[in-house]
Amino acid sequence: MGLEDLPHNFLTGQLEDLVKWARKSSMWPATFGLACCAIEMMSSGAADFDLARFGMEVFRNSPRQADLMIVAGRVSQKMAPVLRQVYDQMMEPKWVIAMGVCASTGGMFNNYAVVQGVDQIVPVDVYAPGCPPTPETLMHAILTLHEKVRTGEITRRRGVEPAVVFDAAPWVPEVPSAVRVSRPS
């Protein structure tokens, strides 16, 4: 990093910047591939697009080790509780990218089986459009999220007032009842 050229081997700065830099540079996504978008997510990790350039290639299979959930694909009513459970298992701080229109809004599948937007179940940070988004779009989404982490506040999570992260009681967002809809026959 060129630090050896400095006359003294220490730097001063804000702790906040350092934490944000660390969070941004070592963000580990959870594998949450659902449908078509999962294939493009895998393509992004493979040779041609190489997510490793952004420190993102370590797809963790356990949600406990992941910071970022990329919801890649349509979320069915049957999958919704599972998705929520995986999200709950992830450690704070955690982020969510809704990859593709199906995850963002339900897309062309405006019907009984698909959750109309994953933001009904989990809070979403970045929406990536496309059906499926190309690896470039996913990368743009990831870089947007990096920028958000870099410029955001470290102690405040979305929707929490006042900003308390190390509170004993974990913050549980309100899950709308539409998670599992029983429709009249």
Binding site: L34, A35, A47, N61, M79, M108, V114
Partner: protein, 452 residues
């Protein structure tokens, strides 16, 4: 509604009902499972004409639940190829019973198809089998055309063959990549994706999208092949063929790979037929059944290719079949490249074909015609039809019923992965848990098509 008392759906209480539990769809301890179903789960379903392959007395119903353990695998599991969920009963490391639980990607596409017109239909079906989207579009278009009774121009047929064969190559490459990942060969994964990207770039050039193309439509294809397509396809053929021999060097003879694949997940021809299994899974048992050859569609009777069959019906046979099918598809693509006819890429039937883009700017009638085709769609005569093609995973069928309107009355897709998944309990029985992953991989399920 009068319901026969003898037919009830399975209701098993006595099981923890959590938010993510799916009740009677899951695997249950033996004492809660009735013997008939237990028999089915352990693979004794095969009441074959030539004597049962499995003696019913072999089913260890007597085994107590204390000796075994039921574990859950999925739906969010890296090696289940999507959102497949399995519940496995283990005795130590040995798998006794397996139950696939599906539906975690149920998208309601069959219902959605009833709300979309025939011309919008291929947008819908292309998202089913997302590794072979062009095959889905093809089967839907063929079914619609069978009801319409239109004759395709030869060039349209050849373009369809070219694109679906390239798609078959990319799908099998994707399988090679994920299978490599499942057995721990990350190099194969990188190689598989590298070659797939070449084909995807060509698709992007032709159809505008890397996946979910909506390219093959009722009445032809969406656009002609781009200028210079011959060179691109030539490069793809040469590269993929040469590199398929590199995969041989990397995997075929390699000792670890062979240990993971040879003799694992055996299936016999009788079992495969009884379970309605198709595709590489059926061919690995030695049945030379490839719809391109046995019941030709498009113009597959005009090209020369071999149907690859296996002998032992194990994982390694299925690997070899897919690898060799890549080479056969390259062979077909070369023949199509040499014999591509000139002509129109879609049928010139005013009812189904929108006017050319250039005429819309100058002619009011063309604009109205274009508008009507895309908003109202076209009426398809009353009738019903079942069309099947050979997708990379097996027999992909489309049952289409029309009531004479512009939207399908009922569309049903027979997904090969959906049917092939039924072979999983049989393939896994008596195997090790570690081999479960390679067995799932060798069945090659695509959950989008399983759940639809």
């Amino acid at each position: 509604m009068v319901i026969d008392e003898n037919i009830t759906t399975v209701v098993r209480p006595l099981w923890p009902t959590e938010e993510t539990s799916e009740g009677s769809q899951e695997l249950f301890p033996r004492k809660l499972t009735d013997p008939a179903e237990l028999g089915r789960e352990v693979g004794s379903v095969l009441r074959l004409p030539e004597g049962p392959t499995l003696d019913p007395t072999q089913i260890d119903i007597e085994r107590s639940d204390d000796e075994t353990m039921i574990i859950n695998m999925g739906p969010q599991h890296p090696s289940t190829h999507g959102v497949l969920r399995l519940m496995l009963e283990l005795d130590g490391e040995v798998v006794l019973r397996t139950k696939p639980i599906i539906g975690y990607l149920h998208t309601g596409m069959e219902k959605q198809a009833e709300a979309l017109s025939f011309i919008q239909g291929s947008t819908n079906v292309t998202r089913m089998d997302y590794l072979a989207p062009l095959h889905n579009e093809l089967v839907f278009s063929l079914a619609t055309e069978a009801l319409l009774g239109v004759e395709m121009p030869r060039r349209a047929t050849y373009i369809r063959m070219l694109m679906t064969e390239l798609n078959r190559i990319s799908s099998h490459l994707m399988w090679m990549a994920t299978n490599g990942m499942d057995v721990g060969s990350t190099s194969m994964m990188i190689y598989g994706f590298r070659e797939r990207e070449m084909i995807l770039s060509f698709f992007e050039k032709t159809t505008g999208l890397r996946m979910n193309h909506n390219y093959i439509r009722p009445g032809g294809v969406a656009a002609d092949l781009p200028d210079g397509w011959e060179d691109d396809v030539e490069v793809i053929c040469n590269t993929v063929e040469a590199r398929s021999y590199e995969y041989d060097d990397l995997l075929t003879g390699q000792a670890i790979f062979r240990d993971r694949m040879v003799g694992i997940g055996n299936l016999t021809a009788e079992e495969a037929l009884a379970l309605s299994v198709t595709g590489p899974l059926l061919r690995s048992t030695g049945v030379p059944w490839d719809l391109r050859r046995t019941m030709p569609y498009l113009a597959f009777d005009e090209v020369d290719f071999d149907v690859i069959v296996g002998t032992y019906g194990d994982n390694f046979d299925r690997y070899s079949i897919r690898l060799n099918e890549i080479r056969e598809s390259v062979k077909i693509v070369r023949q199509l490249l040499a014999n591509m006819p000139s002509g129109d890429y879609r049928v010139q039937d005013r009812k189904v074909t929108p006017p050319p883009r250039g005429r819309i700017d100058s002619s009011m009638e063309a604009l109205i015609h274009h508008f009507k085709v895309f908003t109202e769609g076209f009426a398809v005569p009353e009738g019903e039809v079942y069309v099947a093609i050979e997708s990379p995973r097996g027999e992909l069928g489309c049952y289409l019923a029309s009531d004479g309107g512009p939207k399908p009355y009922r569309m049903h897709i027979r997904g090969p992965s959906f049917v092939n998944l039924q072979a999983l309990p049989l393939l896994m029985r008596g195997g090790l848990l570690a081999d479960a992953v390679t067995v799932i991989s060798s069945v090659d399920p695509v959950m989008g098509e399983v759940d639809r």
